[in-house]
């Protein structure tokens, strides 16, 4: 397939690995964070980190939307799902995220009508098929997914679907990156920037990272050669003493993003004063809620939610994993009490989560050989 096969070419991959080897300074340790969960997944699926020299370490960032949902928001969703007559819809991975008293799957087993959808449009279709029921869509995701929710809410308004509403948990990518960069226990040399978030927001919002923190950023695609090339571009910047935002994913990402998507998001959403992130705590202006113009489609305002804050489980070190301070397998419960079948922390739930990706693909590759 076009845009896929050529980015999985083994010969080109070997050449890039050789180039990367030539760019690193012996004795220096390089830590590069891939922000996006999609990159984490690709890195483990294709063994990208096995092609890197041992002194180039990939650190997994907070870019999996499922992994950063705090328990209290899961509990709020479950409370909505248990309301008589409600059909509660959400993406597949969200159903397995543990709240303080179980998951949405457990709620379904207990009688709640919880359904998995592939898109908000599917949830709207269910609402049209069941005009006598209230249909709630549990929206999660970064700026990649937020336009999809926004367009669906506009469509619900245009088509006068009154039994549809949305519990909005959308988050924005820049505030958590700034919070990470302010974290005293973090030492990074550069960022592999998120590819599909950038199709919406563009590359420009990441310019503060080189400007304020002196770290290079390379927006990257998701195929194995995309990621290898992005690592090479970061190392080339470091070797040359440069520090800027570069766009490796030019076949998809316009530098200024998608203005139509940004407009529709600005119409439907507004920033919350603060939003809680799993493991990272409250971050100012990092979450979205529905704007006053769309208040009638806001499930939180239509039904009310308990809104109780629940502390992360003590045994779980998702926060340190999300900040890249520890590797997934260094967590006390990794692979023992916490597995993809019975997750304690959210990083083990989604296949984009660092722990699940490590568990599924990489747990035997802790001691890498030099390429």
């Amino acid at each position: 397939m076009r845009f896929v096969d050529e980015f999985r070419d083994a010969e080109l991959g070997r050449a890039l690995a050789g180039e990367i080897l030539g760019l690193v300074e012996p004795g220096r340790h390089y830590k590069v964070m891939e922000v996006c969960g999609g990159h984490t997944h690709s890195i483990y699926k294709y063994g990208v980190d096995d092609l890197l020299p041992t002194n180039v370490e990939l650190v997994h960032g907070p870019g999996c939307p499922v992994c950063v949902i705090p328990m209290g928001r899961v509990d709020d969703g479950i409370a909505l799902a248990h309301i008589e007559g409600v059909i509660f819809t959400c993406f597949g991975d969200m159903m397995r995220v543990p709240g303080s008293r179980g998951t949405l799957l457990d709620a379904k087993a207990a009688g709640a009508d919880v359904r998995m959808v592939y898109s908000p449009l599917d949830a709207l279709r269910i609402a049209k098929e069941h005009p006598d029921r209230e249909v709630i869509f549990y929206a999660i995701g970064f700026e990649t997914t937020a336009p999809s929710t926004a367009l669906t809410l506009k469509r619900a308004r245009a088509e006068r679907v009154t039994n549809f509403s949305c519990m909005c948990n959308h988050v924005t990518i820049v505030p958590p990156l700034r919070a990470l960069l302010e974290s005293p226990d973090l030492r990074l040399d550069g960022f592999v920037g998120p590819g599909h978030v950038s199709t919406i927001v563009g590359a420009r919002p990441f310019e503060f990272i080189p400007a304020d923190y002196g770290k290079p950023v390379v927006i990257s695609g998701f195929e194995p050669l995309d990621i290898l090339q992005s690592v090479a571009m970061i190392l080339r910047q470091i070797a040359a003493g440069r520090c800027e935002v570069e766009n490796q994913y030019t076949r998809v990402v316009p530098y200024d993003g998608n203005l139509r998507a940004l407009e529709v998001m600005a119409e439907v959403f507004e920033l919350r004063p603060h939003f809680e992130w799993r493991g990272l705590g409250f971050i100012s202006h990092s979450g979205l809620r529905l704007s006053d113009a769309y208040a009638d489609l806001d499930a939180e305002r239509r039904f009310g939610v308990p809104g109780v804050r629940v502390a992360d489980p003590k045994a779980c070190q998702c926060g340190e994993v999300l900040k890249g301070v520890i590797k997934p397998w260094e967590c006390k419960v990794f692979g023992t009490a916490c597995t993809p079948e019975r997750p304690i922390g959210t990083c083990m739930v989604s296949s984009e989560g660092a722990c699940a990706a490590y568990y599924n693909y990489g747990r035997f590759a802790r001691d890498r050989e030099v390429v």
Partner: protein
């Protein structure tokens, strides 16, 4: 496009290349086929105008970019 144990495409900041088969101009929707031939209804508001045969990058039911 599945949310199986392997990969959750909708919440993984993931994009799926699809080809436009047919347009519903009135509703701003397109019938598209993914690489395996499976059909999907896709919102095209962010990438219009599109025509049958165009390739789109789709995330959570919305075309983000025309390839």
């Amino acid at each position: 496009m599945s949310c199986g144990a392997e990969h959750c495409i909708t919440c993984g900041d993931d994009g799926v290349p699809m080809r436009v088969l047919r347009l519903d101009d009135e509703r701003g929707l397109a019938l598209c086929a993914d690489g395996e031939g499976a059909h999907h209804t896709v919102e095209t508001a962010l990438v219009e105008p599109v025509a049958p045969g165009d390739e789109l990058l789709v995330h959570a039911g919305v075309a983000l970019v025309a390839l």
